[in-house]
């Protein structure tokens, strides 16, 4: 956490292509909703919501952004709609229950280790705690039979990343081409790019 993120394509923004043939109508509709209609809290309670936000801040820290990519609201929305992803690994309950259980377990881990709520921990301790779960060193007693590492990687982290990297800001920061229909690409070779792509990686210039 000490070192911050150094963007390789600092002035690139895929949203600038909004009115170009790179965007078709449905893509504009989908992104308009994502950018303007950030869901309100419905499923999680206030405590769970704050905890999840703190976790998301560790999983994808965005200290440089004045307007960070919202993640928690979209997780809450998916849970409100009771969305599933097609796989329920053994030991992991149905989505709504899994998230509630997982959040409770992380809170319990924090209480057990630091005698305080996860949200109140400093960033280093929060990160270290999540690393322990990620590395398979969680305390099973807090997890009520749910495999902690599996929940962390296959449910929690995957969902957070799926939301973050679906956001135009995140796609711009990695120099992804972004929406591309009807217009795709012409120049396919290494170090070749179309004018509507990100300019060359500044580290290579």
């Amino acid at each position: 956490m000490t070192d911050s993120f150094d963007p390789p394509y600092p002035n690139y923004d895929i949203l600038r292509k909004w009115d170009s043939p790179s965007y078709n109508q449905i893509t504009r509709d989908v992104l308009t909703e994502r950018l303007t209609a950030v869901p309100q809290r419905q499923f999680l309670d206030e405590q769970e919501w704050r905890l999840l936000q703190a976790i998301c801040d560790q999983l994808v820290p965005q200290p440089e952004r004045t307007d960070p990519v919202p993640i928690t609201p979209f997780i809450d929305a998916a849970l409100t709609e009771n969305r599933t992803n097609g796989t329920r690994f053994a030991g992991i309950p149905a989505m709504r229950e899994a998230w509630r259980k997982g959040l409770a377990a992380i809170r319990a881990e924090a209480m057990a280790q630091h005698d305080t709520d996860f949200v109140s921990l400093d960033a280093h301790r929060q990160e270290a705690l999540l690393h322990r779960i990620n590395d398979g060193d969680a305390e099973p007693a807090h997890w009520d039979g749910m495999p902690a590492q599996r929940f962390f990687r296959s449910v929690l982290l995957k969902e957070v990343l799926a939301i973050y990297y679906a956001h135009p800001a995140a796609q711009s920061e990695i120099g992804f081409g972004g929406p591309a229909a009807p217009r795709g690409y012409v120049r396919m070779g290494a170090d070749r790019m179309d004018p509507w792509e990100a300019p060359a990686d500044r580290r290579n210039r």
Binding site: P21, P182, R183, G184, V186, R187, R192, D194, P195, W196
Partner: protein, 343 residues
């Protein structure tokens, strides 16, 4: 040579060409060759070239005013020169636009890639220059430009071969012939330069007989047509001949090349007539090809709305006019051969 030409003069009903020639200087004259109807658009495209060549003809005519028995001969050579000039212009124009686009696709990642459109542009300017003078100095300058264009084309050929060879699999992979730098394309610049040189030669003092000139240009043109057709065939094969009209450039121009070669071998009136029709068809093929390619771009996903992608990824609009240029060169060669044609 004079003897031959004179006797051909007497037999040929082509004296009208002499009277037609000056009228073609300012504006396109109505053609008296039915097979050349497709030239109308070609004339528009080659208008500048026509004007330039016309000037040369006028100067030539003025200069030789004292030798009226040779005037007809000279003007018929000039007629052929006009065709060569137009051929050179059309080819240069095609290479100019096509290489500018294709090298844009390549991102001009090497500075050398600017040379192709630049030299094609210079060749185009030389072959269409309205300030053309017959002064030795200007003629030499233009020849110099043509030679530089030829050298550029040959160098480009080398570059394109090298580009193919450095891709994975090199020359053993069809993918590289389909999608790496096209080997045939720079050849059009070479051809343009050669026709420019030929046009210049034709308006100066003859160094060989018209038959020799006609055969030389005719053979060269037949080969050029075959090479260009091979290139079109390769790229249309790459596109799986998805539209039957894509077979046109691999049928019509090669037929013209064969007819032209036959006329070169035996310049009889009938054969010349056939070859003239075939070359006219080649001109028409080239012009129609450009129109088909415009339509092809429209049929790409996103159509003209997505022009930044489709002008580059779609069929190249500037490429087919090469055929028109070669068809004109063929007609010019036939003009020369006809001067000696036997009834």
């Amino acid at each position: 040579m004079c003897l031959l030409t004179d006797s051909a003069m007497k037999n040929a009903p082509d004296c009208r060409r002499f009277t037609c020639a000056p009228s073609s200087i300012g504006s396109p004259a109505p053609s008296d060759r039915g097979t050349e109807t497709g030239l109308t658009t070609g004339r528009v495209l080659g208008a500048l070239g026509l004007a330039a060549a016309g000037f040369l003809v006028l100067r030539a005519a003025e200069r030789n005013r004292l030798q009226p028995q040779k005037q007809a001969d000279r003007s018929r050579r000039a007629d052929a020169a006009i065709q060569m000039g137009r051929a050179s212009s059309l080819l240069a124009g095609s290479v100019f636009a096509d290489s500018a686009m294709e090298h844009l696709r390549g991102g001009y990642h090497r500075r050398a890639m600017y040379v192709a459109p630049a030299m094609a542009g210079a060749t185009l300017a030389a072959s269409t220059s309205s300030r053309a003078r017959l002064s030795r100095r200007n003629a030499d300058l233009r020849d110099g430009i043509y030679l530089a264009g030829i050298a550029t084309g040959l160098t480009g050929l080398g570059f394109h071969l090298w580009n193919i060879s450095k891709r994975p699999g090199g020359a053993t992979r069809m993918n590289n012939f389909f999608y790496a730098a096209p080997i045939g394309a720079p050849g059009a610049l070479v051809a343009s330069g050669l026709y420019g040189l030929a046009a210049g030669r034709l308006v100066r003092a003859p160094q060989m007989t018209s038959r020799q000139e006609g055969r030389l240009v005719g053979s060269m043109t037949a080969l050029n047509i075959l090479a260009t057709s091979a290139e079109a065939g390769l790229l249309h094969f790459r596109s799986a001949f998805q539209n039957p009209v894509m077979f046109l450039p691999v049928i019509a121009p090669p037929a013209a090349a064969v007819a032209l070669a036959a006329a070169v071998a035996r310049p009889g009136r009938q054969m010349i007539k056939i070859a003239r029709a075939a070359c006219g068809t080649t001109v028409a093929t080239g012009l129609a090809g450009a129109a088909f390619h415009v339509w092809g771009v429209h049929r790409m996903h996103g159509g003209w709305h997505n022009w930044r992608q489709n002008l580059l990824a779609g069929p190249p609009i500037a490429a087919p006019p090469s055929f028109a240029g070669l068809g004109l060169a063929g007609l010019g060669a036939l003009d020369l051969l006809e001067m000696e044609a036997q009834p």
